[in-house]
Amino acid sequence: MGELRLMKGNEVLAEAAIRCGCDGYFGYPITPQSEVMETLMQRQPWDETGMVVLQAESEVASINMVYGAAAAGKKAMTSSSSPGISLMTEGISYIAGAELPCLIINVQRGGPGLGTIQPSQADYFQAVKGGGHGDYKLLVLAPASVQEMNDFVDLAFELAFKYRNPAMILADGALGQMMEKVELSDYKPRWTKEEIHEKWGSWATTGKPASRKKNIITSLELDSDIMEANNRRFQAKYKQMEQEEVRYELIECDDADYIIVAFGTSSRICQKSVEIARAQGLKVGLLRPITLFPFPKKIVGELAAKTKGFLSVEMNAGQMVEDIKLAIYDAGHHVPVEYFGRMGGIIPTPGEVVDSLKNKFHKE
C-alpha cells in the first residue's frame, strides 16, 4: 500500500510528476490549475530528484521548452487550462509532427475566449481531434477522481514514450480543485544519461558522439513523397493506439436498456444518476471512456446491439455525442443517441440527468 493522503487534484498532479521520475515541468499560471506549479515550487523537487521546474513567460514558451526537453529524451510536461492550451496548440502540433513524447495537462474551464474559471468539458474536440493544424492525434486520458489524477501521470508518460507521441490528461476545474483520498505512487528514479542513451539514443538530441549519426528533431519535410510517408506513419501509429490502448469502465451495463456515456466529472454525476434511475425501475448503465482518444468505439458498438438508446452527458454543448454516433454507425446499428449537458461552468445534477433520460427516451 502506498502513502495515503487527502489532497487536491492539482496538488496530486504535481506530486505524481515528481514521483514518476519526471525531468522537467514548464508552465504558466492560469486558474483553475495554478496549484500544479505552486505545489512543485513548494516541493522543490530539484533538491530531491533533480527535477527542473520553471515558470515560463507564456504558454507559448512553456510548450516549446517542453519540445526542447522532450527532444533530448527527457520526461517533460506542462499543465494549463483551456485558454492556455489554445496558446500551446502551435507547439503541440510541432511536437506531434516531430514525434516527441511529452505530457500536457488541461484542467479545463468554460469558454469560448476567457469564458469562466468554473469547470467545463468544452475542450473535448480540441483534445481528441488533434487541436492544432495538420493531421495528428494526442493520446487523451480522462481522469474521474483524484486517484486517477495521480495514476494517469505515470501512465501518460508511459504511453507517450511507447508511441513517441504527446499525451494529454484532460481534467477539469472540479477535479483540479476537489480534495479526495489518494494513494500516492512509489518513487521511480529519473532516467540516467546512460538509460536515455540506451532507450532513446536513436533519436534523442543529447549531443552527437562519434559513434552515431547526428540526430535531427524536426517536423519539416518539403519532399511531398516523404512527407506523405511520414503522415502515413503517424496514422498507422494512431491506428495502433485504437487497437491497443482503449480504456473504459462499465457500470451496470449488463442488463441496461439505456446507456449513459460520460467521462471525467460528468461521469461521477452520472454514477449517481444510474442509481436514481434504477431505484425508479429504469435499467440504466454507464459507459465511462477513460481514453477519449482512442475512443472506446468497439464497446459502444457492442452495447448498441443490445440497448434502446444512448445519452451522452457532457459539460459542453454536445461534442462526444458525435463520436458515439460515429461508433454506432460504424458498427452498423441504428440506436437513438441523445445529448444532455450544461455549459458555462455548471455541473449537471444527477436528477437533471435522469429527467433528461426520461424525457428523451421514456415518455409516459
Binding site: V60, A61, M65, Y67, G91, A98, T205, G207, I216
Partner: protein, 262 residues
C-alpha cells in the same frame, strides 16, 4: 613543378572542416548564412565540443541549418528557438546549446521568447542573422528593415509612420543583466569573417563558462531578397545597414555588469 607533387598533407594550408558536410547548400550564392555556418562549424570542431552541442534551428532560410553541420539539431517553431533552447539547457546544463535565428524569427514573432531567455540569463549562445528582410518567404518587410527600404510588402519603401522604426534588437538585449557578451559583427570581407569568428569563439567560451547568454548579431546580406548582385549587396549593407546597426561589442562582461557600450 607538377601539380600532383604539390598536393601533400604538409602543403595543406586550408581545408573545409569535417563538421560541415558535403551537401550543397540551398542558400543563394552571396548569402551570409553559408559563411556563418562555416565559422560556427569550424569553432565547434576546433573547440572539441561536438559531443555536447545541440543546435536549435529557426524558421526562415536557416530552417535547414541542420542539414549542413554534423551535430545534433532541433528545428523549432517560428520564433520559439530560445524557449526550445531553454528546455534543453535546463535539463542538460553541461551541454552547449545555441540558437540560430533570423530577424523575422528573433525580432518579430519571437520577440518575447528571446527577451525572456536573455533576461533569465539562459546559458546559451544566440546567433542572430539580420539582413533586414524575410528571405525564405520572398523578401517581405522585417522589423529590422531600414527606413525607406523596398521590400515586397513595402513596395514604396518602409514608411516609419506606417510601419514603425527598424528595431535595434541587440541594443535592447545588451541592457539585460542576464546577458554576458553582446556583439554585432559582419561577414562581408575576409577581415570581417576573421573578426566575427573571434567574437563567436568568445561567445561560446562565455557560455561554456556558464556566464549567461551570449548574443552575436551578424548584419548580413540577402542579395536575392534585395535584388542585387552579391558584391552590390555587400556594398549596400556597408553603406546603409552598418551606419544604423553599428558594429562592435555592445557588452563584454561577467553576468550582470555592462563594461562597454557603443
Amino acid at each position: 613543378m607538377d601539380l600532383k607533387e604539390l598536393i601533400k598533407p604538409e602543403n595543406l594550408v586550408y581545408k573545409k572542416t569535417e563538421l560541415l558536410n558535403d551537401d550543397s547548400m540551398h542558400y543563394c550564392p552571396g548569402c551570409s548564412h553559408g559563411v556563418v555556418h562555416k565559422i560556427l562549424a569550424e569553432l565547434i570542431a576546433e573547440m572539441g565540443i561536438q559531443e555536447k552541442t545541440v543546435g536549435v534551428a529557426p524558421v526562415g532560410c536557416a530552417v535547414f541549418a541542420y542539414k549542413y553541420i554534423d551535430i545534433d539539431w532541433q528545428e523549432a517553431a517560428h520564433g520559439r528557438a530560445p524557449a526550445v533552447a531553454t528546455g534543453l539547457i535546463r535539463l542538460m546544463p553541461d551541454n552547449f546549446i545555441f540558437t540560430y535565428q533570423g530577424d523575422g524569427d528573433l525580432a518579430s514573432i519571437g520577440a518575447a521568447e528571446i527577451l525572456h531567455a536573455c533576461n533569465r540569463g539562459e546559458n546559451i549562445l544566440v546567433i542572430f542573422i539580420n539582413n533586414g528582410t524575410y528571405g525564405m518567404t520572398g523578401g517581405q518587410m522585417a522589423p529590422t528593415t531600414l527606413d525607406g527600404m523596398v521590400t515586397s510588402t513595402t513596395p514604396n519603401g518602409r514608411n516609419i509612420d506606417l510601419n514603425g522604426y527598424p528595431l535595434k534588437m541587440t541594443e535592447l538585449i545588451a541592457q539585460l543583466p542576464g546577458t554576458s557578451y553582446v556583439t554585432r559583427q559582419t561577414v562581408h570581407t575576409p577581415g570581417a569573417v576573421r573578426k566575427c569568428k573571434r567574437s563567436l569563439k568568445k561567445a561560446i567560451e562565455y557560455v561554456l563558462d556558464k556566464k549567461g547568454t551570449s548574443f552575436v548579431e551578424v548584419v548580413s546580406t540577402c542579395n536575392s531578397g534585395w535584388k542585387m548582385t552579391p558584391v552590390a549587396a555587400n556594398n549596400w549593407m556597408e553603406e546603409n545597414m552598418v551606419p544604423y546597426y553599428p558594429l562592435g561589442d555592445l557588452k563584454d562582461s561577467e553576468k550582470g555588469e555592462i563594461v562597454s557600450e557603443n
